[in-house]
Subunit: 286 residues, 2 copies
């Protein structure tokens, strides 16, 4: 796997926002390759990235970079990811690897695989990294350092291609790359990412001026991600509806267990519950 040579390949990033921009900066910083191109609808972002020498060239029209790229990394919204691949399916280079970075995987992998050309390999991806700000100007390669990366290859994915992506990602300093099925990914992520975002947004709902003087670290941290990209997240949550609602149900059940212990003054059982939570949190090692 370490024999893989990236020095003669072209990579194109589709969408130079927070994640796409961070990918571009990280690839430029860490990888010796032939060409790094980007496709975006915003000419200004492309010319800024060109001037800063973060990309070799930017394109509004995807034809040329797609026809000449070995790896294409899509950094756009979930449904737009499917649409972009479908609209440009005839323009991808023979045997190209296409990957994405969106927060849901089952629907994307299933739909893309339903129309993809036989020679192309779509391998879904999801960097467990982000920021409470959007756009290329906020992108930074350091958001990837020590973050987790999930790849969701399908049965038709080629082992060599999976390894190429793994080598690429490890060069970008992700802490670990884990392979999951698209279904497992969506289920686990409903719990570890979608649920905490829902909680954060619900929790800030009653914040008022007179509450602010009483805000400590616990409230700050639990609501940090309420500073949310509402368009993206309304799409993610609905696209992952079944798993999300199941996790919300489980969580409300857990909250109700604590509620009942408090209500009935069961201080010793409450202490045991909190102690178990404390042990589980320590087990997480993060």
């Amino acid at each position: 796997m370490n024999d893989i040579d990236l020095s003669n390949i072209n990579i194109t990033i589709v969408g130079l926002g927070l994640i796409g921009g961070s990918f571009a900066k990280s690839i430029r910083e860490n990888i010796n390759l032939k060409n790094l191109w980007a496709i975006d609808v915003d000419e200004n972002v492309l010319s800024t990235a060109e001037k800063l020498k973060i990309i070799d060239k930017g394109f509004i029209n995807p034809k040329f970079p797609l026809q000449n790229s070995d790896i294409i990394i899509l950094c756009i919204y979930p449904n737009l990811t499917i649409k972009f691949i479908k609209d440009n399916i005839n323009d991808f280079k023979q045997n190209a690897i296409i990957t994405d970075t969106s927060g849901i995987k089952h629907k994307i992998v299933q739909e893309v695989n339903s129309f993809i050309r036989d020679d192309l390999d779509f391998i879904g991806g999801h960097p467990m990294a982000g920021k409470e700000v959007n756009g290329f100007s906020n992108s930074n390669d350091n958001i990837f350092y020590n973050a987790q990366y999930i790849l969701t290859p399908s049965k038709r994915s080629n082992l060599t291609n999976i390894n190429i992506l793994k080598v690429l990602l490890s060069e970008l300093k992700f802490e670990a790359v884990t392979e999951l099925t698209p279904e497992s990914h969506d289920h686990i992520i409903a719990y570890t990412s979608h649920l905490p975002h829902i909680i954060a947004c619900a929790l800030v709902n009653n914040v008022a001026n007179n509450t602010c003087s009483c805000i400590g670290g616990s409230f700050k941290d639990a609501t940090r991600v309420a500073n949310i990209n509402a368009s993206l997240w309304s799409e993610l949550l609905i696209e992952n509806k079944d798993a999300v609602l199941e996790e919300v149900d489980k969580f409300i059940g857990d909250i109700n267990n604590i509620y009942k212990l408090i209500e009935s003054n069961e201080q010793e059982y409450l202490r045991l519950y909190l102690e178990k939570s404390c042990e589980k949190r320590k087990m997480m090692k993060v």
Copy 2:
């Protein structure tokens, strides 16, 4: 208020744990006073603090330091706070100011005021600061920097005494000292502190080994405080039961509103809800 001179007073800290230790270190670092004493049941902690010159002297027996201290800062559990003041009510110096640091205020202020000597002034306090570790060895004056402090004077509190505490606390580099009634404190804190702790503990309940590779910042941050002092928190939550259960009910209502929007595929209404949350979070300015 700035004319207040602390250089000729004695302060005693009761309980040299995380908060008491941090108070001792911060007072030693920032305030020129006559004597800084501490009372604790653990002789080792007292002698360590003495050797490090953080306190001038430590006492197992509270009589001498209480009889000679102008300000007493209790840094022990809520019910123990009440018991300590009651057990030692005849030993406090004439006109002393007694304050505490525990996370609930109504019960403590009410009970202490029911038996306190007329010349003494009990003014409840609550530093909005902490750590996921306990004990003197983890104490650090930097946990107070830029943190909020709540004081809950009662009707019998003397204005000069309140001001003395405010001067003391501002010297310890708290960002702001806010006065609230004990009842308001408990209600607001149920929302801004007790609720996020309950959420964190409920949220880690389903964590498993295969979830860990999918953990990003949102889950880490929302569960940070699940690393909890279970004995202290089981007491706090039950002592503030009415306000806590009311806030949990409201929160479940807010979660259910999001649930229904997802369930019925109301993407545009969901986007608006999340956008409102985002604005509220930005308003918090923390």
